[in-house]
């Protein structure tokens, strides 16, 4: 199944892109997705436990993904 990964701010700079498509096996979790992202060039500077949102909601590592999900890896927020 394919999911869309969104990257922002410092994470987008680190990975050199702000969006990518990942092909994952059915039943893959947020944790599995992070493992794939971590294997990419430049991902060494991602923190061990980045915040993740699935379809615009903050998500746990154990959340199971569905085809077409939009998964955002969220740097420390700094609004205000």
């Amino acid at each position: 199944m394919t999911v869309t990964v969104l990257l922002f701010a410092s994470y987008a700079d680190t990975l050199g892109k702000n969006q990518l498509e990942l092909d994952l096996t059915s039943g893959a979790t947020v944790s599995d997705l992070l493992g794939h992202v971590r294997a990419m060039p430049g991902a060494g500077r991602l923190p061990p436990e980045p915040l993740v949102a699935v379809n615009e909601r903050y998500a746990q590592r154990s959340q199971v993904l569905a085809p077409g999900d939009e998964v955002a890896i969220i740097p420390p927020v700094a609004g205000g």
Binding site: F8, S10, D13, A72, P75, G79, G80
Partner: protein, 146 residues
């Protein structure tokens, strides 16, 4: 109740007008502005960016929560995105309530939750020409991107 992300300067007077009603005995306006120093480094401006759709949803949730918790519908929040100069308003929160105590608490709730949950980031521009992403608590999270 309203929350908005905007690319244009925030009209704080309009926010106050929007929450004003005869039944409200207290009206508060909080304005967050771009500061000239962070971590002892002279700042010349800040570029705000967001995960726009999620940020809008989180802001709407926060305003609704504050409304339920403190029993008022008169809460308006605007957050600016894009390039801001020193002294410009990055965020403004107008709250009106029958009583001042609840108005202060609701205003505080909105700004604290916003800083915790809303996916907005700032790229600080420094006097020496460098730029860095700023994390929660003013901590720098990445090396210079320049």
């Amino acid at each position: 109740m309203r929350s908005t992300l905007t690319d244009r300067p925030i009209d704080t007077g309009a926010l106050i007008a929007e929450v004003s009603r005869a039944g409200n005995g207290a009206t508060l306006l909080f304005i967050g502005t771009v500061r000239d120093v962070n971590d002892d480094r002279p700042v010349t401006g800040i570029e705000y960016s967001a995960y726009r759709s999620m940020a809008e949803r989180e802001m709407a949730d926060i305003v609704r929560e504050a409304g339920e918790k403190f029993e008022t519908n008169d809460i308006v929040v605007e957050h600016r995105l894009g390039e801001l100069m020193l002294g410009e308003a990055s965020v403004a929160i107008a709250v009106a309530h029958a009583r001042r105590g609840a108005a202060y608490e609701a205003s505080r709730y909105v700004i604290e939750q916003l800083k915790k949950r809303v996916p907005i980031w700032k790229l600080e521009h420094y006097l020496d020409g460098t730029r860095e992403w700023v994390g929660a608590g003013g901590q720098r999270v990445a090396e210079s991107v320049r």
